[in-house]
Chain length 240, copies 2
Amino acid sequence: MFTLFGRPRKHIVVPKLKPRAAKTALNVNRVSLDELTPDLPRYLGQAAYLQLSNLETISGAISSSPSTAAKVALSRVSQTSLAKLNGLLAEIERGGDSPAELMEYFAAPIERFRDSTRGADWYETVITSYITAGMLTDFFTALAGGLPAGPRERIVELLVGNDPSAIVIEQLRDAIDADHQLASRLALWARRLVGDTLLVARSALSVPAGTAPDEARLEPIFTELIAAHTRRMDVLGLTA
Amino acid sequence: MFTLFGRPRKHIVVPKLKPRAAKTALNVNRVSLDELTPDLPRYLGQAAYLQLSNLETISGAISSSPSTAAKVALSRVSQTSLAKLNGLLAEIERGGDSPAELMEYFAAPIERFRDSTRGADWYETVITSYITAGMLTDFFTALAGGLPAGPRERIVELLVGNDPSAIVIEQLRDAIDADHQLASRLALWARRLVGDTLLVARSALSVPAGTAPDEARLEPIFTELIAAHTRRMDVLGLTA
């Protein structure tokens, strides 16, 4: 059986940061995705700008938090995002490049992505970070399979090892359980996010100039991304 | 000679993070301030909420950054703020308290403080973080002198060891040098910030209920805070 993201997403209910990445996170279908991995600078520039954008989304959620407790919890979420961003920036500098220069190339499309996924309130903003960063972390973890061994290992550890899901779930779960209208609104919002996020993921694939990507090859990748997304929604009690 | 903040603020021009706290940062005038130090939970709750507020200010500046390079630089500033916040939260938990509960008490006045110090653009927002967090870090470092030895040492190391000044100076200095109108506007803005920040500092002092603080004792404290502020402005080429 084909599995792009080998690490099964368990239904986490204990509000506790998970220990570092399970090794199984590396069980991605390399054959399928490796040839579509962009070169390292492009990978890093895009991954770093996406993480910066995620950091901004979380920051917005901190500001619109309904309580001090929520602010504190989200400051811990922003820590996981900053850890990933800092690791990616360090990886860029290790390669002798300037972070801002590599990232600049992706500024316009990613700023548009963030604009189009801006939540209307605190709940939607938190869901935006949870869903979009979750999917993109899965995707960039899988895509890292095609990178050279050294960066690949560091990057995968970085991406998988700073998972804020447990904190987000703790913040949202009770409110969702208690309020069907909220659950329904957030489910719709998340469905809306998936399309935009898959387009960003797709734009990260390296497809030879002048050719169309092999749709038959891409399909299982996106099927797996959506399956992981569904598990992420399940944990919140939301319909994907 | 009386000196509240023994560590002389050098005119940093090298855009480089300073190594960890110089020991001399502890040379505060303990005699004068120790008796005004609040109890540890109150100290921590207020310091943590102020840091959370600073993190929000920096986040706002990331969003309004004029360039990707500025965003990246400010993400590093937010890392220094998060390091301080995380350390303070850990210290609260070490004492068996809930961070959100201790911080909640300070939410309303600090949110008002942040509202009243909200910059009109990126430059003002960056200056706000630099000036207000700089003064309050000085102040809480000095105030820590009256805390029990264990927390005191950890807190002082935390506050002094995560100084974002060099990054901020690198971001602002050239623009200020090149634009006299900007320099004049920012100097005015910073002067406006000082008053509000000193009031916040003053509100952190523990004064026995029903008594007025001893103004003669407070004066040198605030004189030193302002002197440190003037040095901070000097580094940017701004008139204090």
